[in-house]
Symmetry: C2
Subunit: 335 residues, 2 copies
DNA sequence: AATAGCATTGTAAGCGTTTGCAATTTGCTA
DNA sequence: TAGCAAATTGCAAACGCTTACAATGCTATT
């Protein structure tokens, strides 16, 4: 049980008989301080159990060594993987992370961003599909660099790290088409969101086009992302005569799979499924779920790395980073 | 795009022609300010786009309205559920959350706590099984209240919120015993950790004792918590002749289940499985996994609520909270 | 109309650091 | 040993806000 009222920089300065400035310098490993005095200061710090007050530091230096992370939901395995990547490199660069859940609510998203700004964070990583004008506006108005992770604004003007969604979805769809399916359903989030309407759906259509299959919008399903949604949409998908589906969320995919199997369908013989996030969920089920492979951890890590550069005023060569994706072929597709 | 160099309280005061104190008062919704001046101040704030600088506020008031959360891994579904509960009630009380991952490494845990202290957080929620003396020491040395969530120190001196692990495990074990098993394996984490050695294992032994079954330590398995561990330990469990298992982690349980099924065992007819965390994992598999039901979100929420009281110097009647648990009977047990 | 007493507002001293600039030392050179 | 540049240090002003305490403005009472 250490003493409660912790020592200040003044105490150690006084103890050693030097000025505040000197102590500050050694604490910051800064500039040139004679070795002998540095040692004395260090000793005093040790003895007094001095710990710099980060708040005071922040006020004086205008740097908080804290970044903000705004995300839909920590509980979502996809985003939490990104968060982990972010956190690890944040720590690597000695930043702390202020975390905010928004549930994709634009109101809460703008509130979160504003709140982080008032907390004087040095930078922000933003995750969330719904980047409407309001949100983009407040983001660009903030006096700190922001980078999007696993997210896109429609104008693609904000720095971001993603995979190439149109290519990825196109590959997935093409894969099932090659396996002989010509009625393949797709389930995404609201088409109004850029990531859906301008990327996933585009990839889907490109694959169809390349296979000379006409787009049938009855095969497009929009749901929110959870297991129950998968269970529910499955029946409707079946009704369309589709024999394969590409989903944007693993829980949905598994919901579909379980529903179909419960209704006598054999997976993958009768019906193929490909999902997008490659979370742990896809591994623990039987059969395991074929998925687009995303470097989730890396998306977070790279985004954070990019943010450090931005915070450091370094020039960024490329602000729209696309990380490589794969197609993890598993049990819900023939091959 | 708002102006970059944001207005300060001084600007507002100057604009309206009042003192800093007055502006501060209206910003803090504080004490008595004449309605007319309040309105003028509010208008000026609006026009100038003034946002209080939380850092300066923190320095002056010695309150940061920020709490620290230290947890093993955001990516872990169990803990992220707790985190969500914490975050929600934190927001409800207008606290922000500084998140730190420790991977259960005591060194990182103490570093995290110290770091949070230097950031002047108003309180800390700590999660992690390994509460060794070092960690407990630095925790109690910190100048801010700390409460454990889903975690226990061996002396149970730190405020905490949990379920009654011994009762819960005892029920689970008893359940399979009642289903006719007399060789039931148990897999936990390191027995040196209080939560395992002093709770889970005790519950297990109590169940055996009540059923007059002798404890056989070859039925005790210690693993870390992931799917691969489950896959690996399954074979060893089988070798002991056990016909049922109670695990402390859902991924392990599913690993065991998948291994056994791949090796011709019928679940639950040939082998019963009960796990402990009742995460989404237990729902999406077929069969679904029987589990102890934990109010994970609530554990986090209640812990955070408790912390607000502590930060507010309110007296706490009960510091060792045990929330009710259930037994969610699903497909990996006969009933 | 004077005054007690409350409501409202202002003053100014912190809060614990950082940091530009000035002052002092030190080490060398000649 | 004087003289000068470089290396160390100290000074003191910020940083943007909170908050005792003091000062002033009111109201109502007599």
């Amino acid at each position: 049980m250490q003493k409660k009222n912790s020592a200040t920089i003044y105490d150690v300065a006084h103890r050693v008989g030097v000025s505040l400035a000197t102590v500050s310098r050694v604490v910051n490993g800064n500039s040139n301080v004679r070795d002998s005095t540095k040692r004395k200061v260090l000793d005093a710090i040790e003895e007094l159990g001095y710990h710099p007050n980060a708040v005071a530091r922040g006020l004086a230096s205008k740097k908080t060594t804290t970044i903000g992370v705004v995300m839909p939901d920590v509980t979502d395995v996809y985003y939490s993987e990104l968060a982990r990547g972010i956190d690890d490199v944040a720590n690597m660069y000695h930043y702390d992370v202020l975390l905010t859940n928004t549930d994709e609510d634009p109101v809460r998203e703008t509130m979160a961003v504003n709140n982080l700004a008032s907390k004087q964070v040095d930078g922000i990583i933003f995750m969330g599909n719904e980047l409407d004008h309001e949100v983009v506006n407040t983001i660009s108005g903030v006096n700190a660099p922001v980078v999007l992770a696993g997210s896109l604004d429609s104008d693609e003007q904000l720095p971001s790290v993603n995979i190439d969604y149109v290519a990825a979805i196109k590959e997935a769809v093409t894969a099932v088409i090659k396996n002989g399916h010509n009625r393949v359903a797709i389930v995404t989030g609201p088409v109004a969101h850029a990531i859906n309407g301008m990327h996933r759906l585009v990839g889907y259509k490109k694959a169809l086009e390349e296979a000379q299959i006409e787009f049938d919008d009855s095969l497009l399903f929009v749901t929110h992302q959870d297991y129950a949604a998968g269970l529910q949409v499955a029946e409707r998908i079946l009704a369309t005569g589709a024999t394969a589906v590409v989903t944007y969320d693993d829980e949905i995919a598994i919901g579909i799979m379980n529903y179909l199997r419960d209704h006598g369908k054999k997976i993958p013989e009768d019906f193929e499924i490909i999902t997008s996030n490659d979370t742990k969920f896809t591994i623990i089920t039987r059969p395991q779920v074929t998925s687009i492979g995303q470097p989730k951890y890396d998306i977070g890590a790279v985004a954070m790395r990019m943010l450090t550069k931005l915070m450091n005023n370094e020039k960024i060569e490329l602000t729209q980073v696309k990380l490589p994706h794969t197609l993890e072929r598993r049990g819900t597709t023939i091959n």
